[in-house]
């Protein structure tokens, strides 16, 4: 079976160029104009579209096992494909926690046949309790490259130091491939009792605040420890302007640090909480316009490596509790690309780095995702009409949940086709399975 993707602008090794793409089997076999097209090839009209490497999300909560009423691996992967993703990293804060080889195998088995590649991350500490190390060596041996207690940060500095030291020894197992420690930076003693950003809005609304320092103090600690141990620390969902500056400095100093920001942290502010609608409750919280500006600057200048979704489905009724009782988190997979294209004034090549090649490299899947569109690469692609407008509706999403904070917002950038290993997962905007 072949796909002939014609009429589009490809993101190739030399940047954006007008070229057709021929896919046969699971690979790209040619790019250019006047390609020899097999008679049985499926013709895909990409006129007016970019043909880009498929997106990679470092941060998705798929809720399986444990909370399948909110999302499953199948529905999460379908939403991801519709959002233009060909690979997503599944967070391990499920029930039970993904902290053992057998659970990783379970996730991989369930994800067989899903509409995008599901890359399991494993917990750093058993049960994400912040006490004992998970079998990181065994997990690394079976291919796990990202370890995280996401949802919580590791509170104990001595434990974090130990995790970092242990992780640096694992490169002997991975053949030198980096083992990434992804930290949810939150000093719980500072954020306790907080349900939104501590600022003018929390003061007006009478909601307990989470100060920016709950995030930045853990970042500073981990940078100091990474400097000592040489471990690769990845900061998840950086939400503060101060945090962006801390990363900028650490990178200049040569510390092995990477960072992601979420779509919502560069599009929304704490003012959104003024309606007391828990759909705007998220950890780390939405912060100020100044933080949004600093994050956007960090995305533009290379300080921030990735845009992640922190896709966090919650059943509708759970968001019908009071703000301080509702669970934090919002949907992201089906709207992230459009929001990046609409809200960020960045060249498409940079958007592609942030949403595809950089996260693919961090997740250790750069052999098959995030590569330029050229012959010889695995056919993991997205065809996006960057100018096409649509309106975000939670009820129209493939997710089992509807908790998008962008309900009713009109954005531009529509995913028309997604190709996973040479097969269409999204065909003219519709999931193929």
């Amino acid at each position: 079976m072949s796909l002939f993707i014609h009429g589009g602008q490809i993101l190739g090794p030399n940047g954006v160029e007008r070229a057709d793409v021929l896919v046969t089997g699971s690979s790209i076999v040619g790019t250019g104009l006047d390609l020899p097209v097999p008679g049985n090839a499926r013709h895909i009209d990409a006129s007016g579209c970019y043909v880009m490497p498929g997106l990679v999300d470092l941060h998705a909560h798929l809720r399986e096992p444990g909370t399948e009423e909110a999302e499953t691996i199948e529905t999460g992967a379908r939403g991801a494909a519709l959002g233009g993703y060909t690979a997503i990293v599944a967070m391990p804060n499920t029930t039970p926690t993904i902290d053992s080889p057998s659970l990783v195998r379970d996730v991989l088995a369930i994800a067989e046949g899903a509409l995008c590649e599901v890359v399991p991350a494993a917990a750093m500490t058993v049960g994400r309790e912040g006490k004992l190390l998970t079998p990181m060596g065994e997990l690394a041996r079976m291919g796990v490259r990202i370890f995280t207690d996401d949802g919580r940060g590791v509170q104990d500095p001595a434990l974090m130091r130990s995790i970092m030291e242990y992780a640096t020894g694992l490169e002997a197992i991975t053949g030198g491939a980096p083992v990434v420690l992804a930290q949810h930076c939150e000093i719980e003693a500072l954020s306790a009792g907080g349900h939104m950003h501590e600022g003018e809005w929390s003061t007006r609304l009478g909601i307990g605040g989470q100060p920016s320092e709950a995030e930045t103090l853990m970042m500073l600690r981990d940078i100091a420890l990474a400097r000592r141990t040489g471990a690769h620390i990845h900061f998840q969902h950086v939400s503060t302007g101060e945090g962006v500056e801390i990363i900028r400095q650490a990178k200049a100093d040569g510390v092995k640090v990477t960072a992601e920001v979420t779509t919502h942290h560069f599009t929304l502010t704490d003012e959104a909480c003024s309606s007391y609608d828990p759909v705007f409750k998220v950890h780390p919280p939405l912060r100020t316009a100044a933080d949004v500006d600093a994050i956007r600057a960090g995305l533009a200048d290379g300080t921030i490596d990735c845009i992640a979704t922190d896709h966090a489905p919650h059943e509708p009724h759970t968001k019908e509790f009071p703000f301080d009782q509702a669970p934090p988190g919002m949907l992201g997979l089906e709207s992230a690309l459009a929001l990046a294209l609409t809200e960020l004034d960045l060249p498409i090549e940079r958007v592609s780095e942030l949403m595809s090649s950089n996260p693919a490299a961090i997740a250790g899947i750069g052999d098959r995702h995030g590569n330029p569109v050229e012959a010889g690469q695995r056919a993991n692609l997205v065809v996006v009409d960057a100018g096409s407008e649509w309106t975000i509706r939670g009820s129209a999403m493939a997710s089992r949940s509807h908790n998008t904070p962008y309900e009713g917002r009109t954005v531009k950038g529509q995913v028309r086709f997604t190709v996973l290993d040479g097969e269409l997962t999204v065909d003219d905007g519709v999931a193929t399975r």
């Binding site: 600022g199 003018e200 809005w201 009478g206 019908e320 509790f321 009071p322 703000f323 301080d324």
Partner: protein, 309 residues
């Protein structure tokens, strides 16, 4: 006016309208049988997700004096603890047929959320640290009853501003009416971005007293000591309590107010409680009057809205 959620919903005109209605209900309350048929046939649900005997009793007395039926709901006797969402709870109560819901909740914003789901009128009986509009209205009524005008009136609010819905609503009400508000507290009891509230701030009660027309004391909770926000209640009393010495520095025409219940020996020394400037019992009396006005205006105008549409 369908709902009363915050003072901001009212504005100066709305506050004045409630004051005028309250004047006529004050007269009703003087009668041998203090009851009028104004809300006969109306059902009011009193939904207290947090205990507050004083506020609940005040609202229920107000409702009964207007001849409304009161349906009681308290969190402990409900399925709230069984994982039922706030929306489920409210829709269940509303299905029983109610015209208004009085909500008291420990979570800020709960009344506003409820107002989005309920057709009935929603009256905020106090939510979290956020708002307590009927308390502010009764405080305004109490000051006004003394013949004071708000324009330029110097009001000092003393104590735990950070965790106080009364403070937030009163700052809003007093500012709306033209008063000058000074918040007096140690920095640990002020919210982190206190400038968002738009009031003057002082950490020195003694420096403020002589220039104060109304001294408004807030209740101090014991748990603030456990949270290391103050060293001890004794130190709090020595720095921010109304002692006999401080009462002497306060102008003779000043008013001393407190939303109750008072902690003797903490916010106020026992020997000052009977000072003739203290208006705490007037506040309680006026609470019923003002809540009658609120219920009457909310249910009256909601009925008018419904018949008009």
């Amino acid at each position: 006016m369908k709902d009363l959620l915050t003072i901001g919903d009212l504005g100066a005109d709305g506050i004045q309208e409630i004051m005028h209605a309250a004047d006529s209900f004050a007269e009703v309350c003087q009668r041998p049988i203090p009851k009028v048929p104004a809300l006969r046939g109306k059902t009011i649900a009193s939904m207290f997700f947090e205990d507050s005997t004083r506020t609940r009793t005040s609202f229920e007395t107000a409702a009964k004096r207007l001849s409304a039926d009161v349906m009681n709901f308290s969190a402990s006797s409900s399925s709230v603890n069984k994982g039922e969402s706030l929306r489920d709870t409210v829709e269940t109560i509303e299905a029983m047929g109610v015209d208004a819901i009085i909500v008291r909740h420990k979570s800020s914003g709960a009344p506003e959320q409820i107002s989005r789901w309920a057709n009935a009128s929603v009256i905020n009986g106090g939510d979290g640290w956020h708002a307590h509009p009927t308390q502010s209205l009764l405080d305004v009524y109490t000051i006004r009853e003394e013949g004071r005008t708000f324009d330029g009136l110097r009001i000092a609010i003393v104590g735990d501003i950070s965790h106080s819905r009364v403070a937030r609503s009163n700052i809003e009400a007093f500012h709306t009416l033209g008063a000058e508000v000074t918040l007096v507290a140690p920095p640990t009891l002020l919210p982190p971005h206190v400038e968002a509230l738009g009031a003057h701030v002082s950490h020195d009660l003694d420096a403020v007293l002589a220039n104060t027309d109304v001294l408004y004391l807030l209740r101090m909770q014991h748990e603030r000591m456990d949270q290391a926000l103050v060293p001890s209640l004794g130190e709090y009393h020595r720095a921010f309590g109304l002692t006999l010495d401080r009462a002497k520095q306060l102008p003779s025409s000043a008013l001393i107010m407190h939303p109750g219940p008072m902690n003797r020996g903490i916010e106020i020394s026992p020997e000052v409680i009977d000072d003739e400037r203290v208006r705490v019992l007037n506040q309680v009396t006026n609470g019923v009057i003002v809540r009658m006005a609120v219920l009457y205006l909310v249910l009256g105008s909601a009925a008018a809205d419904r018949s008009a549409s």
